[in-house]
């Protein structure tokens, strides 16, 4: 058992990191916001924590907390003005946010620029392992499970269904959306901080559009109705490239080299045929019925 773990420890930890990231985008999706800036939030958490442990000799957990808070702060500042945007406009704005952060990192020499930032190259070593990652994941999952059916979770669902009707029920929609956005950023920041200490090397390329899309795929494929869906999606899609090792080479074309084709096909199949994600399939196999509903949707306000 421990042999298996040692051989695959990075992959196992990566599944955990991806699950945390998927939860971060789930938080925003749960009130119908498509945010593609969580990769940038991950970057902020990663670089902040890395700088603190490497330059200022902080221990791991304080650095993770600081990274998460920094990420939340930036999200608050940049996110507050864009919160009144909806749908497509919000998605584009968050994409832009993500790019600005990536460009900023590339242009700051202290962060290593496009070459990347190497950790643990001195005599001090601060590392994270699967224990830390899964510890955090369990904590977050616990939090989510306690929230079920609470005033907060109902408010988020109401916002997702119909923002204006939610307002007239006394729900402060702007507050909840900002809170969801910032919380998502904090969670992504935690993932980033742990990730940096998992690999001991980070570069801006790790946190670009591709990462944001990957995380979105985790959440959508797993299912956006419940937080367990996000985790399920992350597990499945992270292990996918390993699973497709069995696919043969056809006609000189090695399709295994392009796992994004499989990701794309699965994502497409889910969106077209199982819009509530694979979790609903799993649940119905367990004979628990859930009502079908839109993946992400809320009726438009009519003046």
């Amino acid at each position: 058992m421990s042999e298996f773990y040692n051989a695959n420890s990075f992959l196992i930890s990566l599944v955990g990191i991806n699950a945390i990231m998927a939860l971060s985008i789930y938080i925003t999706l749960s009130c119908a916001m498509l945010s593609l800036s969580n990769a940038a939030s991950m970057a902020i958490g990663a670089y902040t924590a890395a700088l603190l442990t490497q330059q200022l000799a902080w221990a791991l957990w304080p650095a993770v907390v600081a990274g998460a808070l920094m990420s939340g702060l930036v999200a608050l500042v940049l996110g507050l003005p864009i919160m009144r945007l909806s749908g497509v406009f919000l998605a584009i704005a968050t994409l832009g946010f993500g790019e600005v952060i990536r460009i900023a990192i590339v242009n700051i020499d202290a962060l290593g620029g496009s070459e990347g930032f190497r950790l643990n190259s001195g005599d001090r070593t601060i590392e994270a392992s699967g224990w830390e990652v899964y510890g955090v994941l369990l904590l977050i999952a616990y939090f989510f499970s306690r929230l079920k059916g609470s005033r907060m979770s109902l408010a988020l669902q109401a916002i997702r269904e119909d923002e204006n009707a939610a307002r007239t029920m006394g729900i402060n929609v702007t507050f909840y959306k900002v809170a969801a956005y910032v919380t998502g950023a904090i969670v992504a920041g935690i993932a980033g901080a742990l990730y940096a200490h998992l690999r001991s090397f980070i570069s801006p390329g790790d946190f670009g559009f591709q990462r944001a899309v990957d995380v979105l795929v985790f959440a959508v494929v797993g299912g956006t109705l419940a937080w367990r869906g996000a985790i399920m999606g992350a597990v499945l899609m992270t292990l996918l490239p390993e699973a497709i090792r069995v696919v043969p080479i056809v006609g000189g074309f090695n399709i295994k080299d392009q796992p994004e084709i499989f990701s794309g096909v699965i994502l497409l199949a889910v969106i077209l045929f199982l819009p509530n994600g694979l979790l609903t399939v799993a649940l119905s196999l367990n004979r628990i019925r859930r009502p079908a509903r839109k993946v992400i949707g809320h009726k438009e306000a009519s003046p």
Binding site: R146, G149, S150, R151, M152, L154, A155, Q157, A158, E161, D162, N164, A165, A166, R167, T168, M169, G170, I171, N172, V173, T174, P291, R293, K294, K299, A301, P303
Partner: protein
């Protein structure tokens, strides 16, 4: 916290101040003036009807009162506070609740959850307490669920509590919307065409229910197309036409008003 009945009884004896005072309310969309200088008051315990042909501006008025649409002119005062620039959620917390012309339930949420969420503004535990899942929060949420069930019983929907709201028949959906709007314990309930799509028997039942609520002390502002319902239910009626309030008075007075009759000629009823 006092119930609406108690509050209104006190208000009624201490003053004849209106619960809702609308003054010169105006809304223009570019060059088109949808509502122009509309003024009326709704007193505590009163049922006020707002009628008018299609396109007269009734829904625009309701949207302005509930805070979904800012007026371009005029003022709205509710329980002594100016609400014309207030965000919708704060207006709801003040005690002004509404239903929608085309039902806007939270379809994927259960019937019970819809009514629970209607109590959102009433639940007073602080954010800090919520984040640590304090027992007070648990008690409050339990109480909200119990209250929601009671409201569902009153509406005759208790047996459907765990169904998704979208699965309900139309008539039940209307009842659910009303129950949800009542969940917050409002002082004033705005009803936007509550009898839409109902037959005569259903409208009658609705009228009875609303009468009961009004007798319990709830003030109502009813926007309706169904003139007979409005006539039998309302204490006073205002008539809108092309965005202007052209007449106001008791049902008998309105029925005789030549301007009103003319406004309705050629419009559908």
């Amino acid at each position: 916290m006092m119930s609406p009945v108690e509050t209104q009884a006190i208000e009624a004896t201490t003053s004849s101040k209106p619960l809702l005072a609308v003054q010169e309310l105006t809304r223009a969309f570019g060059g088109l003036v949808a509502v122009r200088d509309v003024s009326f008051d709704v007193y505590p315990g009163e049922v006020y009807g707002l009628i008018g042909p299609n396109g007269a501006g009734k829904t625009t008025v309701i949207n302005m009162l509930s805070g979904l649409l800012p007026p371009t002119g005029g003022t709205i005062t509710f329980r002594g506070q100016r609400i014309d620039r207030m965000p919708a959620h704060r207006i709801a917390a003040l005690g002004l609740s509404r239903t929608y012309q085309n039902i806007r339930l939270f379809g994927a949420m259960s019937v019970l959850q819809n009514v629970v969420v209607g109590q959102h503004a009433r639940m007073r535990a602080s954010l800090a307490e919520r984040l640590v899942f304090s027992p007070r929060v648990r008690r409050e949420e339990e109480a909200a669920r119990r209250r929601a069930l009671t409201l569902l019983e009153e509406a005759g929907l208790a047996s459907l509590a765990s169904q998704p709201a979208s699965a309900l028949a139309y008539g039940n959906q209307r009842r659910l919307e009303l129950a949800r709007a009542l969940a917050s314990g409002p002082h004033l309930l705005l009803l936007d065409e509550p009898a839409a799509g109902m037959n005569a028997a259903e409208s009658q039942a609705l009228g009875t229910r609303l009468r009961t609520l009004a007798e319990g002390g709830l003030s109502l502002l009813v926007v309706e197309h169904d003139v007979s319902l409005v006539m039998s239910l309302c204490d006073r009626i205002g008539v809108l036409n092309f965005g202007n309030l052209i007449a106001e008075g008791t049902p008998t007075e309105i029925a005789r008003d030549p301007q009103v009759i003319e406004a309705y000629l050629g419009s559908d009823e």
